[in-house]
Amino acid sequence: MSGNLRLVASAVAALMCASPLRAQAQVTSQRLAAAASEPQNWLTYSGGYKSERYSSLDQITPANVKNLKLQWVYQSPVAGNWQTTPLVVDGVMYLTQRLNDVVALDATTGRAFWMYRYTPAQDRIVCCGANNRGLAILGNTLFMGTLDAQLIAIDARTGRPIWKTEVATTRDGYSITHAPLVVKDKVIVGVGGGEYGIRGFIAAYDAATGKEAWRFYTIPAPGEPGSETWEACPKAATAFCDPEAWKHGGGSIWMTGSYDPQLNLTYWGVGNVGPDYNGAQRPGDNLYTDSVVALDADTGKLKWHYQFTPHDVYDYDAVQVPVLIDNWNRNGINVIAWANRNGNFYVIDRATGRFFLGEPFVKVNWMSGFDERGRPMQTPQPAGQPTYPGNQGGTNWYSPSFSPRTGLFYISAWEDYASIYSPAPSEYKVGSNFVGGGPQNFSAVPGAPGLGRSPINTWTEAAGHGAVIALDAGSGREKWKFKMTDVTDSGILTTASDLLFTGGREGFFQALDARTGALLWKTNLGAAINSGPITYRIGSRQYVSIVSGLSLFVFALDE
């Protein structure tokens, strides 16, 4: 080392000891609550407690978006359906990759600082792939739920584990696939396993120690409020009818909730009832499956609930991210906007749970409308006939976006898509599939393939197609639609320059005009996009990132 360099290095070391660099600043709960005021970062799974996936960054505009250039690519060494959304904190990107790895990258260059690998138990039981959708952060600690139902705290500077808590027993069918939500000094997380007869719950853990602070079961025990919706089912009446069906009633949590600091309520979407399709085994509404629950963030106590699909037999999980909108229709009321898997768009008072609005955004024939309290009037289809929307829903877990500038709510939707349901008795066995029959993709052309995953689209328009649908959040009416040939599992991002970024199964990453839906820019990334885009800023430069296939791509305008 030359003398001059040695001198500079000493000076830098002295500086680091004297005053911590910005890169080492703590992510306080106050910063999380005010995430919108630091758009250079992406501090929670959905970008902030309102889960709008809206950023006030505006360097990339409708006029210059065509000049976006690829800046760097990070390739995951692990094959599979990569659903993660990264966090970006003061220049460092933290992301999960399958199975349960965490990687810290320089958000400017994509070079790694560290990697933490957690190997989930071999006897884990997880439905639908080894998915992990992301992390939460508080202080200098990252939090990850694992496929074998552990919650792990990781030092964000070193990538070393700090504590690990068993949330549930994986051998009983429990797992964690979503990003946790940090509220004040607690880490909130729920359990997956709705296809394995679990009894779902949401729980909060002390961020410093991992000690459980509260737990809310999404399936009430006998005597608790809501237990009356699990009606008696005499063993003789139906095969495998279980008088204690609630013990295996599902109600999984597999998407991250939202939080209202003023009301101190945290909102979570609850998954399907078990067994999924055979309603005869579990008569009643089956609360709180397919519901949104509003919980006191300090105690976990239920404040209110709204059930989107009572007595679901279609697997219409309410696993969508709750999007919080203030001053809805300029009437001073703060609401939750929700595009549900069951094909309806809802607006609900987030203080009381009162139903304001329900409008279908795709073809729906499982119900014909709502009563005055917002209960759907169900219209089950005859055996062998198609039910709209199909099993994967009018939308699913794909993050929607709300732009306060346009007043539009943006949904990744599946249109003209149906399933035919064949319920069948299903016996509960610990850790075994407990679904009660199964759906079949409907195609208007006999024998044609249903919706699939392949670079060759053999199912075509006969099986359904994808779209970005922009709804007026005040009325639920469609403002514009961007149709795709294949379906989409991509999340959506909007920005203050009225840009909308999204992907799809075809592998295109595209920018639309958020006001009109006009295509402004696209690039073919070569593999299906199964997660949501985010945006962040380093110095004066705005970046947009998206995962496609096994790679994370980052774009920006050339300097």
Partner: protein, 260 residues
Amino acid sequence: MRSVPAVIAGVLIWIGLATAAGDAQAPLHDNQYSDADIAHGAALYAARCVTCHGTQGDAIGGVNLRSGTFRNAVIDRDLERFIRAGSAAGMPAFALDTGDMAGIVAYLRNMNAFDAAAVKTGDAARGRALFTGKGACAGCHRVGAAGAITGPNLTDIGAVRSAGSLQRSLVDPVSQMMPINRPVRLVRQDGTVVSGRRLNEDTYSLQVIDEGGSLRSFLKSDLREYTVSTTSPMPSYRNTLSGDELADVLAYLLSLKGQL
């Protein structure tokens, strides 16, 4: 791995076409099975299952396949899973392709009602001769290196289509044309017209094989017209081949498993 011995093709059986013609609607759910699938499944059963389960399906104690209900399988998908996985009790795993699985499940569901005496047997060797000769199938379809490439390639058609679907294809081709295979007609912005068969499509582009056999890709923004035809250029063989000949062609098609 090839899943069905070649000999099976020679013992295929065929139910009269009168019923097949009225059965153009494909099964919509698990409880509807075509006669051709049941018959194909019966042949597979005779070749691969009968040694252990017996002709009456009751040779293993406690297992009666003719009952139509199964201890480890409620819906057809369970049955398929079980057959693919085998059992700890000693049943081997069977790696059946789509067409064979559809057949064996259809047969197991209908074993009790199935009358083997009422069916005709097709011959794959005779069917092959009809394919290239009287039927002129090779004028549009290719198997291996022989035949034209304008129609869908049939080299593995016996692995990807069920017997019932192939049977209906021969007598009512429109009902069985996969949407991806539909003929397309494109008019480009400069007025040139391209006709061909669709191979793939996304939001922005379209891939076809044109009438001259060239692979071509088009941006939708460069097209003035894009028409997808719902009628098939394939003729119905209902009146041009006899019932026995159709049975032979079906036997040949079912023998095409993608192995040369």
